[in-house]
């Protein structure tokens, strides 16, 4: 009976303030974390990469404005490499994994924007090399998308955000190095974790 009688009484003012403070704290946390997440839906600006302490595989490609376009096939500015390493893309992301059909550039670029690696091969690539590429893709199911790329006349194209390497044939060591060094380097912004792990050593005498 005491509990029921207690519920009938109006809560003391200090209790009411405490509950309001708890609710306000929850709202503040939601708003603080939300402002960060919304940025991911706006596409990426042209920000050059930070310096790294290791020699990165492939060559750097300037990052071009990378706004969202409504659907694959919608007119947009030209990419600055083949295959592209940044630029306009659709707002949804395709899954990493192995594809037997080509993946449109507008889908692939968004995957690069999330820090993944694209391995794309010319249609004439021998079957045993494609099998070799598949084994690599299976080792990195969350990092790599493997697909044929009809516009590539020969060889294997490795792309990360703002980075490209063209190999004449499947080279497991080179591809593994490209994947392990460049995955997660960019994810809607140059990754702080990646930069910290690959930061150039501080100059002597400087703190």
């Amino acid at each position: 009976m005491n509990a029921r009688d207690g519920a009938m009484r109006r809560p003391a003012a200090r209790h009411r303030v405490l509950w309001w403070l708890l609710a306000a704290a929850a709202a503040a946390i939601v708003l603080r974390t939300s402002s960060v997440t919304w940025a991911a839906f706006a596409g990426s600006a042209s920000v050059p990469p930070p310096p790294a302490s290791v020699a990165l595989p492939g060559r750097e490609v300037p990052v071009i404005p990378s706004r969202h376009i409504p659907f694959v096939g919608y007119p947009h500015t030209r990419y600055d490499s083949l295959p592209p390493t940044s630029g306009p893309h659709v707002p949804w992301v395709i899954m990493t994994g192995i594809y037997e059909q080509p993946v449109p550039d507008e889908l692939g670029v968004h995957l690069l924007e999330h820090g993944h690696i694209l391995i794309q091969y010319a249609p004439a690539t021998p079957a045993h090399e494609v099998d070799q590429l598949r084994s690599i893709a299976l080792r990195f199911p969350a990092d790599v998308l493997l697909a044929p790329y009809p516009r590539l006349h020969s060889g294997i194209a490795l792309t990360a955000w703002g980075r490209i390497q063209i190999l004449p044939r499947a080279d497991t060591a080179a591809i593994t190095r490209f994947v392990t060094l460049l995955r997660g380097r960019y994810d809607h912004g140059w990754s702080r974790d990646w930069a910290a792990a690959h930061a150039p050593p501080a100059a002597p005498g400087r703190s």
């Binding site: 809560p11 009411r16 708890l22 946390i29 659907f71 096939g73 899954m95 192995i98 080509p102 990195f140």
Partner: protein
């Protein structure tokens, strides 16, 4: 419903005389801590009553009048017992079938049209929920959690949504898989209830702004508390079995030479199942784990009491709400303050999901629809993608909205 309105008994103590004969349906009476759960499984109405209330009902069921029963109880208790008020309470709750032959089924009228589904004989369902089966479900859960913790490359990601280059195909398949998996999850609850000899009924419903399928397991109240856990956990058991199978196949994809598209499809099912199991663990909504926790605490309507408690702390309760809260079960009232903290955190999570996932995803898909339908020709994939997403978006909004409006209409009818 119409017949009930024509000659229903008013739940008014003044109209229940000492000569009244009260009739019940098939009742179940189950001890639950220091009280008893009394209910009519066919109507889906259950009440927590003290021992004296059970004695009163047993005497009334034996054919004694209200006056005769009151005299017996008064003699036992050593003080006057107001049985007319007690019977009026039973009438209002919907536990009484008739008083002096006049029908009295107000609570049952609320769920008219939703039929209890038996269908499968209990002995046919029992092997799915025996000791060996539960050990397998537990092994599936342990395996799944182990893989997700130890092998990050198999963790699901929202990037798994598009497992096929054609977005319309991907989304169409995901919707179908989600509905199938959700339906079998609910069917597993039902089968576990059947294994206990009970029936269940299905409905489309909502949790906050999210559309859901749900199974009405009200008849579980006719079981002792420890036997309620199986049916409550059955849906999650099914989810873990599917999750374990998909993760096993994905890990073995290389040696088994699975077609790549099948591997990616399995990743989609993993994503759907992880969302499903995660959702069922949200204690601040009427989910499976909420019901498990509530049952373990011996509570009767913890979520509703907690929401009233919280409302009372943040605003001012109306007299009706105050009376409602004051009449709540003491165990619900004891748990409400700390459960309110979980609710505040939960509302934060919901708000975060709404702002960061639901609204942006809806905005992105809305843009997809507008641009697709406005700029792409019917021969372009963009047009058909837009059309598929338009239907999906409309159903996402219309489903919870329709359920909400129906709930409001039902509340209005009951009041």
């Amino acid at each position: 419903m119409t017949a009930q309105a024509a000659d229903a008994v008013e739940p008014d103590p003044a109209r229940i005389g000492t000569s009244a004969i009260v009739e019940f349906g098939e009742l179940t009476i189950v001890p639950d801590g220091d009280e008893f759960i009394v209910g009519d499984p066919a109507l889906g109405v259950f009440l927590g009553l003290p021992e004296i209330g059970v004695t009163a009902i047993e005497n009334l069921r034996a054919g004694r009048t209200v006056g005769e029963t009151a005299a017996i109880l008064t003699e036992d208790a050593g003080e006057d017992v107001d049985l007319a008020e007690f019977v009026a309470g039973l009438v209002e709750a919907g536990l009484v079938r008739s008083v002096n032959g006049a029908g009295a089924l107000p609570a049952a009228a609320q769920t008219a049209g939703r039929r209890w589904i038996a269908g499968v004989r209990p002995e046919r369902a029992r092997w799915l929920f025996g000791r060996v089966a539960w050990l397998c479900y537990a092994a599936c859960a342990a395996w799944s959690l182990g893989v997700l913790v130890l092998l990050p490359q198999y963790r699901p990601s929202f990037e798994s949504t598009l497992f096929y280059p054609d977005p319309a195909v991907s989304i169409g398949v995901i919707v179908v898989v989600a509905i199938v998996v959700g339906s079998v999850h609910e069917a597993w609850h039902w089968l576990a209830a059947r294994a206990e000899g009970l029936s269940a009924r299905f409905a489309v419903s909502r949790r906050a702004f999210l559309p859901v399928l749900e199974t009405d397991l009200t008849q579980l109240w006719s079981l002792p508390r420890r036997r309620r856990y199986g049916p409550l956990l059955a849906g999650l058991a099914f989810d873990f079995a599917v999750l374990a199978g998909c993760l096993l196949l994905r890990i073995a994809a290389g040696p088994l030479a699975l077609p790549p598209v099948l591997d990616r499809f399995l990743a989609v099912v993993v994503l759907i199942e992880v969302i499903q199991t995660g959702f069922q663990c949200l204690l601040f909504l009427r989910t499976d784990m909420y019901l498990v926790v509530s049952t373990a605490l011996g509570c009767q309507d913890l979520l509703r009491v907690t929401r009233l408690f919280l409302r009372g702390r943040l605003t001012v309760l109306s007299p009706a709400q105050q009376a409602d809260l004051a009449g709540a079960h003491p165990r619900d009232l004891r748990a409400a303050p700390w459960f309110a903290l979980i609710n505040i955190a939960g509302f934060g999570v919901l708000a975060w999901l709404l702002i960061n996932q639901w609204l942006p995803a809806t905005a992105v898909m809305g843009g997809w629809v507008v641009f697709g339908l406005a700029h792409a020709s019917v021969r372009q994939a963009g047009f058909w993608e837009g059309l598929v997403i338009a239907v999906l978006l409309l159903s996402q909004v219309a489903w919870p909205l329709a359920v909400y409006l129906k709930e409001r209409r039902t509340r209005g009818t009951v009041q």
